[in-house]
Protein backbone atom coordinates (compact mmCIF):
# COMPACT_ATOMS: atom_id res chain seq x y z
CA UNK A 1 0.00 0.00 0.00
CA UNK A 2 2.81 2.37 0.98
CA UNK A 3 4.70 1.47 -2.17
CA UNK A 4 1.60 2.17 -4.30
CA UNK A 5 1.14 5.54 -2.60
CA UNK A 6 4.80 6.33 -3.15
CA UNK A 7 4.63 5.39 -6.83
CA UNK A 8 1.42 7.40 -7.27
CA UNK A 9 3.01 10.42 -5.62
CA UNK A 10 6.12 10.03 -7.77
CA UNK A 11 4.06 9.77 -10.95
CA UNK A 12 2.05 12.84 -9.97
CA UNK A 13 5.25 14.75 -9.32
CA UNK A 14 6.71 13.64 -12.63
CA UNK A 15 3.51 14.56 -14.44
CA UNK A 16 3.81 18.10 -13.12
CA UNK A 17 7.21 18.49 -14.75
CA UNK A 18 6.20 16.68 -17.91
CA UNK A 19 2.94 18.61 -18.23
CA UNK A 20 4.55 22.03 -17.96
CA UNK A 21 4.87 23.28 -21.55
CA UNK A 22 8.13 24.83 -22.70
CA UNK A 23 6.36 28.14 -23.13
CA UNK A 24 5.57 28.36 -19.41
CA UNK A 25 8.82 30.33 -19.46
CA UNK A 26 8.50 33.63 -21.28
CA UNK A 27 10.86 36.29 -22.60
CA UNK A 28 11.53 39.19 -20.23
CA UNK A 29 14.23 41.80 -19.90
CA UNK A 30 16.81 40.83 -17.28
CA UNK A 31 16.05 37.12 -17.58
CA UNK A 32 17.66 34.29 -19.51
CA UNK A 33 16.62 34.15 -23.17
CA UNK A 34 14.44 31.05 -23.67
CA UNK A 35 15.62 28.87 -26.55
CA UNK A 36 14.23 26.15 -28.79
CA UNK A 37 15.37 23.63 -31.33
CA UNK A 38 14.10 25.06 -34.61
CA UNK A 39 14.17 24.32 -38.35
CA UNK A 40 16.62 26.28 -40.52
CA UNK A 41 16.29 26.93 -44.26
CA UNK A 42 17.23 23.32 -45.02
CA UNK A 43 14.75 21.96 -42.45
CA UNK A 44 17.67 20.92 -40.27
CA UNK A 45 16.72 21.13 -36.59
CA UNK A 46 19.16 23.39 -34.75
CA UNK A 47 19.50 24.06 -31.04
CA UNK A 48 19.36 27.86 -31.15
CA UNK A 49 20.85 28.07 -27.66
CA UNK A 50 24.13 26.71 -29.03
CA UNK A 51 24.38 29.70 -31.36
CA UNK A 52 24.10 32.25 -28.56
CA UNK A 53 27.76 32.06 -27.54
CA UNK A 54 28.36 35.83 -27.68
CA UNK A 55 26.23 38.99 -27.44
CA UNK A 56 23.42 38.41 -29.89
CA UNK A 57 20.46 40.08 -31.56
CA UNK A 58 17.43 37.87 -32.15
CA UNK A 59 15.25 39.41 -34.83
CA UNK A 60 11.58 38.42 -35.27
CA UNK A 61 10.13 39.18 -38.70
CA UNK A 62 7.94 37.80 -41.49
CA UNK A 63 7.52 37.93 -45.27
CA UNK A 64 4.65 40.45 -45.40
CA UNK A 65 6.37 43.21 -43.43
CA UNK A 66 8.07 45.85 -45.57
CA UNK A 67 9.58 47.70 -42.59
CA UNK A 68 11.11 44.40 -41.51
CA UNK A 69 13.04 44.02 -44.75
CA UNK A 70 14.53 47.46 -44.11
CA UNK A 71 15.66 46.32 -40.65
CA UNK A 72 17.40 43.34 -42.32
CA UNK A 73 19.50 45.85 -44.28
CA UNK A 74 20.43 47.59 -41.01
CA UNK A 75 21.38 44.24 -39.43
CA UNK A 76 23.58 43.31 -42.39
CA UNK A 77 25.43 46.62 -42.09
CA UNK A 78 25.74 46.21 -38.30
CA UNK A 79 27.21 42.73 -38.75
CA UNK A 80 29.79 44.16 -41.17
CA UNK A 81 30.58 47.10 -38.90
CA UNK A 82 30.92 45.30 -35.56
CA UNK A 83 31.97 41.89 -36.86
CA UNK A 84 30.14 38.57 -36.65
CA UNK A 85 32.48 37.43 -33.87
CA UNK A 86 31.51 40.42 -31.74
CA UNK A 87 27.75 40.42 -32.27
CA UNK A 88 25.70 37.43 -33.35
CA UNK A 89 22.47 37.83 -35.31
CA UNK A 90 19.71 35.24 -35.43
CA UNK A 91 16.48 35.67 -37.38
CA UNK A 92 13.16 34.04 -36.55
CA UNK A 93 10.52 34.15 -39.30
CA UNK A 94 7.16 33.95 -37.51
CA UNK A 95 5.26 33.23 -40.72
CA UNK A 96 7.42 30.25 -41.70
CA UNK A 97 6.32 26.77 -40.67
CA UNK A 98 9.29 25.11 -42.31
CA UNK A 99 12.49 25.83 -44.18
CA UNK A 100 10.95 26.78 -47.55
CA UNK A 101 9.91 30.29 -46.59
CA UNK A 102 13.12 30.90 -44.63
CA UNK A 103 15.16 29.82 -47.65
CA UNK A 104 13.30 32.21 -49.91
CA UNK A 105 13.58 35.09 -47.41
CA UNK A 106 17.33 34.60 -46.99
CA UNK A 107 17.86 34.34 -50.73
CA UNK A 108 15.69 37.39 -51.49
CA UNK A 109 17.32 39.62 -48.91
CA UNK A 110 20.83 38.22 -49.28
CA UNK A 111 22.00 37.68 -45.72
CA UNK A 112 24.17 34.97 -44.20
CA UNK A 113 23.20 34.95 -40.54
CA UNK A 114 21.00 32.04 -39.44
CA UNK A 115 17.23 32.24 -39.62
CA UNK A 116 14.67 29.76 -38.33
CA UNK A 117 11.03 28.88 -38.94
CA UNK A 118 9.13 30.31 -35.97
CA UNK A 119 5.47 29.79 -36.82
CA UNK A 120 4.95 27.40 -33.91
CA UNK A 121 2.58 27.77 -30.99
CA UNK A 122 5.30 27.13 -28.38
CA UNK A 123 7.68 29.65 -29.97
CA UNK A 124 5.09 32.39 -30.48
CA UNK A 125 3.64 31.95 -26.99
CA UNK A 126 7.00 31.98 -25.25
CA UNK A 127 8.31 35.03 -27.06
CA UNK A 128 4.85 36.63 -27.06
CA UNK A 129 5.22 37.79 -30.62
CA UNK A 130 1.99 39.49 -31.67
CA UNK A 131 3.57 41.89 -34.11
CA UNK A 132 6.79 42.43 -36.03
CA UNK A 133 9.44 43.79 -36.16
CA UNK A 134 10.78 42.81 -32.72
CA UNK A 135 14.48 42.93 -31.85
CA UNK A 136 15.86 41.26 -28.74
CA UNK A 137 19.34 42.22 -27.53
CA UNK A 138 21.05 39.46 -25.52
CA UNK A 139 24.20 40.08 -23.48
CA UNK A 140 27.23 37.80 -23.01
CA UNK A 141 25.50 36.19 -19.99
CA UNK A 142 22.65 35.10 -22.33
CA UNK A 143 20.26 37.46 -20.57
CA UNK A 144 17.73 39.63 -22.37
CA UNK A 145 19.09 43.14 -22.14
CA UNK A 146 16.50 44.96 -24.24
CA UNK A 147 13.38 44.25 -26.28
CA UNK A 148 12.47 46.69 -29.06
CA UNK A 149 9.00 46.22 -30.52
CA UNK A 150 8.97 48.71 -33.36
CA UNK A 151 10.99 49.97 -36.33
CA UNK A 152 14.49 51.00 -35.29
CA UNK A 153 16.85 53.63 -36.69
CA UNK A 154 20.47 52.73 -37.43
CA UNK A 155 22.07 54.89 -34.74
CA UNK A 156 19.63 53.50 -32.17
CA UNK A 157 20.51 49.95 -33.27
CA UNK A 158 24.22 50.65 -32.93
CA UNK A 159 23.64 52.14 -29.48
CA UNK A 160 21.97 48.97 -28.24
CA UNK A 161 24.71 46.82 -29.80
CA UNK A 162 27.37 48.84 -27.96
CA UNK A 163 25.43 48.27 -24.73
CA UNK A 164 25.41 44.48 -25.06
CA UNK A 165 29.00 44.05 -26.27
CA UNK A 166 30.68 46.18 -23.61
Amino acid sequence: MTVRLYITALLLLLSIFIAVPAYAVSMKEGQAFPVFTMADENDKMVDVGQLIDRPTIVYFTHNSCHYCTQVIALLKRAEAKFGAKTIGIIGINVMAKDGKMVRRYKRDLGFQFPMFAGNREDVLSTYKINYVPVLVFIDSEKRVKKIIGHYIHEDELHGYIREVIK
Binding site: N63, Y105, Y131, V132, H150
Partner: protein, 342 residues
Protein backbone atom coordinates in the same frame (compact mmCIF):
# COMPACT_ATOMS: atom_id res chain seq x y z
CA UNK B 1 -15.27 53.57 -16.53
CA UNK B 2 -16.12 53.19 -12.84
CA UNK B 3 -15.11 49.90 -11.35
CA UNK B 4 -12.19 49.31 -13.69
CA UNK B 5 -8.83 48.57 -12.09
CA UNK B 6 -5.89 50.91 -12.52
CA UNK B 7 -4.43 50.24 -15.95
CA UNK B 8 -0.76 49.37 -16.11
CA UNK B 9 0.69 49.60 -19.59
CA UNK B 10 3.93 47.68 -20.11
CA UNK B 11 7.08 49.75 -20.55
CA UNK B 12 7.57 48.30 -23.99
CA UNK B 13 4.04 49.20 -25.02
CA UNK B 14 4.26 52.66 -23.50
CA UNK B 15 7.54 53.54 -25.19
CA UNK B 16 6.44 52.09 -28.51
CA UNK B 17 3.14 53.95 -28.33
CA UNK B 18 4.72 57.22 -27.27
CA UNK B 19 7.40 57.09 -29.97
CA UNK B 20 4.92 56.13 -32.63
CA UNK B 21 2.36 58.75 -31.62
CA UNK B 22 5.05 61.44 -31.65
CA UNK B 23 6.18 60.22 -35.06
CA UNK B 24 2.66 60.18 -36.42
CA UNK B 25 1.92 63.67 -35.14
CA UNK B 26 5.17 65.00 -36.58
CA UNK B 27 4.39 63.34 -39.89
CA UNK B 28 1.01 65.07 -39.99
CA UNK B 29 2.36 68.48 -38.98
CA UNK B 30 1.22 71.19 -41.40
CA UNK B 31 3.86 73.21 -43.17
CA UNK B 32 3.00 76.51 -41.49
CA UNK B 33 4.60 76.56 -38.04
CA UNK B 34 2.19 77.26 -35.23
CA UNK B 35 -0.91 76.15 -37.10
CA UNK B 36 -2.94 73.80 -34.92
CA UNK B 37 -3.01 70.20 -36.00
CA UNK B 38 -6.25 69.33 -37.75
CA UNK B 39 -7.27 66.01 -36.31
CA UNK B 40 -10.04 63.74 -37.50
CA UNK B 41 -13.25 64.46 -35.68
CA UNK B 42 -16.66 66.04 -36.15
CA UNK B 43 -16.01 67.14 -39.73
CA UNK B 44 -15.56 63.47 -40.68
CA UNK B 45 -18.72 62.36 -38.93
CA UNK B 46 -20.80 64.94 -40.84
CA UNK B 47 -19.84 63.36 -44.18
CA UNK B 48 -22.59 61.15 -45.57
CA UNK B 49 -20.63 59.58 -48.43
CA UNK B 50 -17.35 59.87 -50.33
CA UNK B 51 -16.98 58.90 -53.97
CA UNK B 52 -13.51 57.98 -55.18
CA UNK B 53 -11.93 56.89 -58.40
CA UNK B 54 -9.55 54.11 -57.36
CA UNK B 55 -6.67 52.42 -59.12
CA UNK B 56 -5.28 49.43 -57.21
CA UNK B 57 -1.84 48.53 -58.51
CA UNK B 58 0.22 45.39 -57.94
CA UNK B 59 3.86 45.99 -58.91
CA UNK B 60 6.59 43.36 -59.29
CA UNK B 61 10.14 44.33 -58.34
CA UNK B 62 11.75 41.04 -59.29
CA UNK B 63 11.28 38.43 -62.01
CA UNK B 64 10.09 35.05 -60.75
CA UNK B 65 9.00 31.62 -61.96
CA UNK B 66 5.74 29.78 -61.25
CA UNK B 67 3.98 32.81 -59.78
CA UNK B 68 0.43 32.85 -58.42
CA UNK B 69 -1.21 36.10 -57.39
CA UNK B 70 -4.50 36.83 -55.63
CA UNK B 71 -5.65 40.46 -55.83
CA UNK B 72 -8.60 41.40 -53.60
CA UNK B 73 -11.62 42.91 -55.28
CA UNK B 74 -13.55 45.58 -53.39
CA UNK B 75 -16.58 44.25 -51.56
CA UNK B 76 -20.06 45.28 -52.63
CA UNK B 77 -22.52 45.91 -49.82
CA UNK B 78 -25.10 48.53 -48.78
CA UNK B 79 -22.30 50.80 -47.56
CA UNK B 80 -20.01 50.39 -50.54
CA UNK B 81 -21.21 50.81 -54.13
CA UNK B 82 -18.71 49.74 -56.78
CA UNK B 83 -19.09 50.78 -60.43
CA UNK B 84 -16.88 50.94 -63.54
CA UNK B 85 -14.78 47.97 -62.43
CA UNK B 86 -12.01 47.30 -64.97
CA UNK B 87 -9.08 44.91 -64.76
CA UNK B 88 -5.86 45.18 -66.74
CA UNK B 89 -3.25 42.46 -66.33
CA UNK B 90 0.02 41.66 -68.05
CA UNK B 91 -0.70 37.97 -67.39
CA UNK B 92 -3.75 35.74 -67.94
CA UNK B 93 -6.26 36.03 -65.13
CA UNK B 94 -9.62 34.89 -63.88
CA UNK B 95 -12.10 36.72 -61.67
CA UNK B 96 -13.17 34.45 -58.84
CA UNK B 97 -16.26 35.88 -57.24
CA UNK B 98 -17.39 34.76 -53.81
CA UNK B 99 -20.00 35.97 -51.37
CA UNK B 100 -17.34 37.47 -49.12
CA UNK B 101 -13.85 37.48 -50.60
CA UNK B 102 -13.67 37.94 -54.35
CA UNK B 103 -10.31 38.01 -56.08
CA UNK B 104 -8.53 38.42 -59.37
CA UNK B 105 -6.37 35.32 -59.74
CA UNK B 106 -3.25 35.32 -61.90
CA UNK B 107 -1.05 32.37 -62.72
CA UNK B 108 2.14 32.85 -64.73
CA UNK B 109 5.12 30.65 -65.53
CA UNK B 110 7.43 33.63 -65.58
CA UNK B 111 6.98 37.23 -64.49
CA UNK B 112 8.84 40.45 -65.22
CA UNK B 113 9.55 43.57 -63.22
CA UNK B 114 6.85 46.21 -63.55
CA UNK B 115 3.10 46.46 -63.21
CA UNK B 116 1.52 43.05 -62.79
CA UNK B 117 -2.09 44.20 -62.76
CA UNK B 118 -4.28 47.21 -62.24
CA UNK B 119 -7.83 47.14 -60.88
CA UNK B 120 -9.79 50.34 -61.50
CA UNK B 121 -13.16 51.15 -60.01
CA UNK B 122 -15.37 53.93 -58.77
CA UNK B 123 -16.44 53.58 -55.15
CA UNK B 124 -19.19 55.44 -53.33
CA UNK B 125 -18.60 54.68 -49.68
CA UNK B 126 -21.27 55.75 -47.22
CA UNK B 127 -20.77 56.55 -43.57
CA UNK B 128 -21.87 53.41 -41.74
CA UNK B 129 -24.40 53.70 -38.94
CA UNK B 130 -26.56 51.38 -36.85
CA UNK B 131 -29.09 49.56 -39.02
CA UNK B 132 -31.76 46.90 -38.68
CA UNK B 133 -30.33 43.37 -38.85
CA UNK B 134 -32.64 41.71 -41.36
CA UNK B 135 -32.18 38.29 -42.99
CA UNK B 136 -28.70 37.84 -41.58
CA UNK B 137 -27.52 34.44 -40.44
CA UNK B 138 -25.61 35.70 -37.43
CA UNK B 139 -24.79 32.27 -35.96
CA UNK B 140 -21.67 32.00 -38.14
CA UNK B 141 -20.30 35.14 -36.53
CA UNK B 142 -20.07 33.32 -33.20
CA UNK B 143 -17.15 31.23 -34.46
CA UNK B 144 -13.76 32.53 -33.39
CA UNK B 145 -10.62 32.30 -35.53
CA UNK B 146 -7.37 30.69 -34.39
CA UNK B 147 -6.12 34.14 -33.31
CA UNK B 148 -9.11 34.89 -31.10
CA UNK B 149 -9.13 33.00 -27.83
CA UNK B 150 -9.94 33.91 -24.28
CA UNK B 151 -7.88 32.98 -21.28
CA UNK B 152 -8.37 33.42 -17.54
CA UNK B 153 -7.21 37.04 -17.58
CA UNK B 154 -9.60 37.98 -20.39
CA UNK B 155 -12.52 36.24 -18.72
CA UNK B 156 -11.77 38.03 -15.46
CA UNK B 157 -11.66 41.34 -17.34
CA UNK B 158 -14.98 40.64 -19.10
CA UNK B 159 -16.70 39.69 -15.86
CA UNK B 160 -15.43 42.82 -14.15
CA UNK B 161 -16.37 45.14 -17.02
CA UNK B 162 -19.78 43.63 -17.79
CA UNK B 163 -20.82 42.96 -14.21
CA UNK B 164 -24.53 42.16 -14.04
CA UNK B 165 -25.39 43.86 -17.34
CA UNK B 166 -27.49 41.64 -19.61
CA UNK B 167 -28.45 43.98 -22.46
CA UNK B 168 -26.12 43.04 -25.38
CA UNK B 169 -25.84 46.61 -26.72
CA UNK B 170 -24.81 47.94 -23.32
CA UNK B 171 -22.43 44.98 -22.88
CA UNK B 172 -20.87 45.97 -26.20
CA UNK B 173 -20.49 49.59 -25.09
CA UNK B 174 -18.93 48.63 -21.77
CA UNK B 175 -16.41 46.37 -23.48
CA UNK B 176 -15.73 48.99 -26.18
CA UNK B 177 -14.93 51.63 -23.55
CA UNK B 178 -12.83 49.25 -21.47
CA UNK B 179 -10.73 47.89 -24.37
CA UNK B 180 -10.12 51.40 -25.74
CA UNK B 181 -9.01 52.54 -22.26
CA UNK B 182 -6.94 49.39 -21.65
CA UNK B 183 -4.95 49.43 -24.90
CA UNK B 184 -2.22 51.69 -26.32
CA UNK B 185 -2.21 52.20 -30.09
CA UNK B 186 1.04 51.18 -31.80
CA UNK B 187 2.04 52.49 -35.25
CA UNK B 188 4.40 51.03 -37.83
CA UNK B 189 4.22 47.36 -36.94
CA UNK B 190 2.57 44.41 -38.69
CA UNK B 191 0.29 42.75 -36.21
CA UNK B 192 -1.02 39.19 -36.01
CA UNK B 193 -4.13 40.24 -34.08
CA UNK B 194 -3.86 37.66 -31.29
CA UNK B 195 -6.35 38.52 -28.57
CA UNK B 196 -4.49 36.92 -25.65
CA UNK B 197 -1.13 38.53 -26.51
CA UNK B 198 -2.62 41.95 -27.25
CA UNK B 199 -4.56 41.86 -23.99
CA UNK B 200 -1.46 40.95 -22.01
CA UNK B 201 0.71 43.56 -23.75
CA UNK B 202 -2.07 46.19 -23.55
CA UNK B 203 -1.06 47.46 -26.95
CA UNK B 204 -1.67 46.91 -30.62
CA UNK B 205 -3.14 48.03 -33.90
CA UNK B 206 -6.63 47.69 -35.33
CA UNK B 207 -6.49 43.90 -35.63
CA UNK B 208 -5.50 43.65 -31.96
CA UNK B 209 -8.25 45.94 -30.71
CA UNK B 210 -10.77 44.04 -32.77
CA UNK B 211 -9.48 40.57 -31.91
CA UNK B 212 -9.94 41.45 -28.23
CA UNK B 213 -13.38 43.00 -28.69
CA UNK B 214 -14.62 40.13 -30.84
CA UNK B 215 -13.28 37.52 -28.43
CA UNK B 216 -14.97 39.22 -25.50
CA UNK B 217 -18.34 39.64 -27.19
CA UNK B 218 -18.39 36.10 -28.52
CA UNK B 219 -17.58 34.93 -25.00
CA UNK B 220 -20.85 36.66 -24.05
CA UNK B 221 -22.57 34.88 -26.98
CA UNK B 222 -22.92 38.09 -29.05
CA UNK B 223 -22.20 37.53 -32.78
CA UNK B 224 -19.51 39.75 -34.33
CA UNK B 225 -18.53 40.05 -37.99
CA UNK B 226 -14.95 40.93 -38.99
CA UNK B 227 -14.36 43.24 -41.96
CA UNK B 228 -11.00 44.26 -43.41
CA UNK B 229 -9.76 46.86 -45.81
CA UNK B 230 -7.60 49.93 -46.10
CA UNK B 231 -8.16 53.32 -44.51
CA UNK B 232 -7.86 56.41 -46.71
CA UNK B 233 -6.95 59.86 -45.34
CA UNK B 234 -9.43 61.73 -43.15
CA UNK B 235 -11.15 64.95 -44.11
CA UNK B 236 -8.60 67.32 -42.50
CA UNK B 237 -5.71 65.73 -44.38
CA UNK B 238 -7.54 64.51 -47.49
CA UNK B 239 -6.06 65.72 -50.74
CA UNK B 240 -8.09 65.38 -53.89
CA UNK B 241 -5.55 62.85 -55.14
CA UNK B 242 -3.12 60.63 -53.32
CA UNK B 243 -1.50 57.22 -52.94
CA UNK B 244 -1.73 54.81 -50.03
CA UNK B 245 0.33 51.64 -49.86
CA UNK B 246 -1.87 48.58 -49.39
CA UNK B 247 0.26 46.49 -47.04
CA UNK B 248 0.17 45.08 -43.55
CA UNK B 249 0.93 48.50 -42.04
CA UNK B 250 -2.07 50.17 -43.69
CA UNK B 251 -4.39 47.18 -43.52
CA UNK B 252 -7.31 48.09 -41.28
CA UNK B 253 -10.12 46.13 -39.67
CA UNK B 254 -13.46 47.02 -38.12
CA UNK B 255 -16.42 45.04 -36.81
CA UNK B 256 -20.20 44.79 -36.76
CA UNK B 257 -21.94 43.13 -33.88
CA UNK B 258 -25.53 41.96 -33.77
CA UNK B 259 -27.71 42.81 -30.81
CA UNK B 260 -31.33 43.64 -30.20
CA UNK B 261 -32.24 43.20 -33.87
CA UNK B 262 -29.61 45.78 -34.87
CA UNK B 263 -26.28 45.73 -36.67
CA UNK B 264 -23.87 47.90 -34.72
CA UNK B 265 -20.58 48.90 -36.42
CA UNK B 266 -17.52 49.63 -34.27
CA UNK B 267 -13.95 50.73 -34.91
CA UNK B 268 -12.08 50.64 -31.61
CA UNK B 269 -8.69 51.47 -33.11
CA UNK B 270 -9.85 54.73 -34.68
CA UNK B 271 -11.83 55.47 -31.53
CA UNK B 272 -8.56 55.12 -29.64
CA UNK B 273 -6.40 57.11 -32.06
CA UNK B 274 -8.71 60.10 -32.39
CA UNK B 275 -10.49 61.32 -29.24
CA UNK B 276 -12.88 63.32 -31.44
CA UNK B 277 -14.14 60.06 -32.95
CA UNK B 278 -14.27 57.97 -29.79
CA UNK B 279 -18.03 58.15 -29.23
CA UNK B 280 -18.81 58.08 -32.96
CA UNK B 281 -16.83 54.88 -33.55
CA UNK B 282 -19.27 52.94 -31.39
CA UNK B 283 -22.16 52.66 -33.84
CA UNK B 284 -20.46 54.48 -36.71
CA UNK B 285 -17.70 54.08 -39.29
CA UNK B 286 -16.31 57.02 -41.22
CA UNK B 287 -16.55 56.79 -45.00
CA UNK B 288 -12.81 57.04 -45.74
CA UNK B 289 -12.15 53.33 -46.16
CA UNK B 290 -12.31 50.52 -48.70
CA UNK B 291 -13.62 47.15 -47.63
CA UNK B 292 -11.93 44.19 -49.28
CA UNK B 293 -12.52 41.11 -47.14
CA UNK B 294 -14.69 39.50 -44.50
CA UNK B 295 -13.63 37.14 -41.73
CA UNK B 296 -10.28 35.70 -40.67
CA UNK B 297 -8.45 32.48 -41.44
CA UNK B 298 -9.25 32.63 -45.15
CA UNK B 299 -8.80 30.11 -47.93
CA UNK B 300 -9.15 31.73 -51.33
CA UNK B 301 -10.17 30.31 -54.70
CA UNK B 302 -7.99 28.54 -55.75
CA UNK B 303 -6.45 27.80 -52.34
CA UNK B 304 -3.20 29.53 -51.49
CA UNK B 305 -0.34 27.64 -49.80
CA UNK B 306 -1.15 28.77 -46.26
CA UNK B 307 -4.20 30.12 -44.44
CA UNK B 308 -4.43 33.90 -44.73
CA UNK B 309 -5.18 35.88 -41.59
CA UNK B 310 -7.11 38.46 -43.63
CA UNK B 311 -7.13 39.59 -47.28
CA UNK B 312 -6.90 43.34 -47.74
CA UNK B 313 -3.90 43.41 -50.04
CA UNK B 314 -2.38 41.26 -52.77
CA UNK B 315 -1.08 37.83 -51.80
CA UNK B 316 1.64 36.45 -54.09
CA UNK B 317 3.50 33.14 -54.17
CA UNK B 318 6.38 31.81 -56.24
CA UNK B 319 6.98 28.07 -56.37
CA UNK B 320 4.30 27.69 -53.69
CA UNK B 321 6.05 29.97 -51.18
CA UNK B 322 4.71 33.42 -50.18
CA UNK B 323 6.84 36.12 -51.78
CA UNK B 324 8.58 38.78 -49.72
CA UNK B 325 6.55 41.98 -49.59
CA UNK B 326 8.64 45.06 -50.29
CA UNK B 327 11.33 43.06 -52.04
CA UNK B 328 9.45 41.03 -54.65
CA UNK B 329 6.29 43.11 -54.96
CA UNK B 330 4.29 46.02 -53.55
CA UNK B 331 0.70 47.19 -53.85
CA UNK B 332 -0.60 50.74 -54.03
CA UNK B 333 -3.99 52.40 -53.97
CA UNK B 334 -4.14 55.57 -56.07
CA UNK B 335 -7.26 57.52 -55.24
CA UNK B 336 -8.98 60.59 -56.58
CA UNK B 337 -11.83 62.10 -54.59
CA UNK B 338 -14.69 62.80 -56.97
CA UNK B 339 -17.46 63.82 -54.61
CA UNK B 340 -18.12 64.54 -50.97
CA UNK B 341 -21.70 64.38 -49.69
CA UNK B 342 -22.34 66.12 -46.39
Amino acid sequence: MPGLPELHISRRAFIAGALATAGALLAKRPDSVGEPLALPGESDTRIEALTYKIRYLTEFYTADQAVRVWIPLPAVDPNQEITNLAIESRYPYTVNRASDNSAVYIEADGTQKGTCASVRFTMRRKTTRITEAKDIDVARYLKLSEWEKWDEAIVKFIDMVVGGETDPVRIGKRIYDAVVAHTAYVHQVCSRGVSVLAFEDKSGRSDDFHAMFRTMLVYKAIPVKWEQGVLLPYHPTLNKKGTVEADCINSHSWLRFYAGGKTIPVDLAEGKRWPGLREFCFGGLTANRIKFSTGRGLTLNPPQSEILNTFSYTHAEADGVPMTYGHNYRTFIKYELLRKEV
